[in-house]
């Protein structure tokens, strides 16, 4: 049996497990809708400022890297737009999940793999600003915190996973894991941010983290799988359609 066939079987089994798991979670009454982004005004000013301070260096470095990239390799400009567009589409899709609530993917894995986490911090933040200003989803005061989770830590994880696995696994699997884990970690960071700002009166940070984490843990897993698969699909399309650009970025084409 080829590796590919085994891979597809593993995916199918995972999907079946998840569907079953979602049912159980629902029956246990742990279903609650959740937020992807922290809402406007929902972080105390000190924490809002703290996360801006965390995000700022990434924005500065990311901005410089993008400027240099565009100057040195102008042929990658379109691809840069594509990575941004992918985040736009994915973060607009509120998908139903097995827990009976909806959430949306992030789309940051692709850009992190193609360009790197610093470049992606800018692209992800653009999508966040769009949502904060036009849709009142997320917010301007919480932009630093949301950028840290979605546009910085997510891409950092994607990049790390991709770099660590690309020579050990078939390329598709490395892309899948990078994108799916970036999606998951985004929500872990969001819960940690909420728990830091709102520690439980008795259990402290840990209890609050468990509480916020439980809200989305099961919901987000199938979405992370969807995000991983969608990223693999577009990456495969790029390998056959834009091998020259991938090569310019130091990635192997088809």
């Amino acid at each position: 049996m080829s590796r590919k066939v085994i891979g597809s079987r593993v995916i199918l089994c995972l999907a079946a497990l998840l569907l079953a798991g979602g049912r159980v979670a629902w029956a246990a009454g742990s279903a609650a809708p959740q937020a992807m982004h922290i809402m406007e005004g929902f972080l105390p000013p000190a924490w809002a400022a703290f996360w801006f301070a965390v995000a700022l260096p990434f924005w500065v470095l990311g901005f410089r890297r993008i400027r240099r990239l565009v100057a040195e390799k102008p042929e990658t400009r379109l691809l840069l737009g594509l990575a941004g567009a992918f985040t736009f589409v994915l973060s607009a899709l509120k998908l139903p999940s097995v827990t009976g609530s909806s959430s949306h993917p992030t789309g940051t894995g692709l850009g992190a793999i193609l360009f790197g986490p610093l470049e992606m911090s800018i692209l992800g933040t653009i999508a966040l600003i769009f949502q904060a200003l036009l849709i009142a989803h997320g917010g301007l005061t919480t932009l630093g915190a949301n950028a840290t989770s979605m546009a910085i830590v997510g891409p950092l994880v994607a990049f790390g996973v991709w770099r660590g696995l690309r020579d050990r696994l078939p390329q598709g699997w490395a892309v899948f894991l990078a994108a799916a884990l970036a999606d998951l970690i985004t929500y872990v960071v969001t819960s940690a941010q909420l728990a830091l700002a709102y520690p439980d009166p008795t259990g402290g940070f840990v209890a609050a983290f468990a509480k916020f984490g439980a809200i989305f843990a099961v919901t987000q897993v199938p979405l992370a799988i969807s995000e991983g698969i969608l990223t693999v699909l577009i990456f495969n399309a790029l390998r056959s359609s834009a091998p020259a650009e991938l090569q310019a970025l130091g990635l192997k084409g088809a």
Binding site: K4, A31, I135, S240
Partner: protein
């Protein structure tokens, strides 16, 4: 044609992957017929209210869509912008390939 022909096994894999995404998105609708699939940021608000009942948001959105319809319009616009660009990109690449670069 300069591009390598796409093998049938690769096409099969693509179809399978798309099918999994569709199943993951559609199956929940049948698993929970009584749910409205509320997304939304409302519930994290609920969790915060439980832990810190006295918290008052200190800043409100500069502008908020008047209702669900306008909000879905803007989400659709966001997706359309992204999808439009993705379509443009792959269309451009295909055209370039067909005209021999």
């Amino acid at each position: 044609m300069s591009a390598a022909p796409i093998s049938s096994s690769r096409r099969g894999l693509t179809v399978l992957l798309v099918a999994i995404v569709v199943v993951l998105a559609v199956a929940p609708l049948f698993l929970h017929r009584d749910s409205e699939f509320g997304g939304a940021d409302g519930a994290a608000e609920g969790a915060i209210a439980e832990i810190a009942p006295d918290y008052q948001p200190w800043f409100s959105p500069v502008w908020e869509p008047p209702g669900g319809e306008t909000e879905s319009l803007l989400f659709a616009l966001q997706a359309a912008l992204g999808a439009g660009f993705i379509g443009y990109f792959f269309g451009l690449k295909r055209g370039a390939r067909q005209s021999g670069r």
